[in-house]
Symmetry: C2
Subunit: 203 residues, 2 copies
Amino acid sequence: MKYVVNIILFEEFETLDVFGPVEIFGCLPDIFKLNFISLNGKTVSSTQNVKVETNKYEKKNDENTITFIPGGMGTREKINDKNLINFIQNIAVESEYIMSVCTGSALLAKTGLLDGKKATTNKRAFDWVAAQGKDVLWVRKSRWVNDGNIFTSSGVSAGIDMTLGFISELLGKEKAKEISNKIEYKWNEDKEWDPFAELYGLA
Amino acid sequence: MKYVVNIILFEEFETLDVFGPVEIFGCLPDIFKLNFISLNGKTVSSTQNVKVETNKYEKKNDENTITFIPGGMGTREKINDKNLINFIQNIAVESEYIMSVCTGSALLAKTGLLDGKKATTNKRAFDWVAAQGKDVLWVRKSRWVNDGNIFTSSGVSAGIDMTLGFISELLGKEKAKEISNKIEYKWNEDKEWDPFAELYGLA
């Protein structure tokens, strides 16, 4: 095992933001260990009524970690939750990689870690997210964006494409294709492919 | 609320088989109520280590229900679990609609409810699944299949396309497109689209 993926859950997270990427990481159990965490380590519910058990966060010194932040309706309130923002910040700064899906980038922006970096987000909620990080270089049209060790994706299902893109960067494109074929998924492998930017008036 | 969707979980279910369709149903909370159930009503783990709380099944007389059966590595053992097969059968026969994703159709085949009906499944595991229901009219090339009130899909991510197809049948194509746009998903709306049948030597 090479990386622990710390998946930060909060009330009213969006189901597929989390479980699309989890499916991809889960295809490589020798490389990624999935760890669902929350502030209090209890059960957390998604907007779609999925009740998931979580752990408290414990950093072990010899672990390489990835911090994963989903979006969802819960982010509307959580951007003002200083405990959660500090929690995310503390975990993310210790990580080798940071990833967010959809409006999860609003929470990540609130930590300041996106300042001066390129990032994207949900295309329907773009203006609201962008207002949470005025020093972020928001990209209006892109399926996902990679700046240094930070990966951010467009809305919901884009997290699947981004995670395959991440696998491609880390382990090669063949590995990403192998996984997408295994789950019978047609990977949108071109970051620039983003018909939803146009649909929602951003391009 | 018009339908309770009873999602049958078992140990080692495949994460995205469940949570892709759950994301789609979850976009219409006024029409679908999601109810995660299992034989014992306790926490159930997916192969990707997602621990989900479930309920015991209770049929209420005035409810319309949909029975939903995911696939996953757990099905290899569960085809021989008579308690689970009876559980699925009893719930499914009372339902307005029955849906399975991926190797979930092996469990459904074991109930006998697919006999004489057209159905499909995971394309990598096709022969193994087909052997579980010799009187089923297995379709080798199709993203998903609909025969009467039964919908069956190909592997993992195909469950998303099938569920959008189901929404399209029930509520019209515009509603299915609205949901796919909301979650920034490019719906493969043609049932006949199935490049994985060819990839895995079935077409």
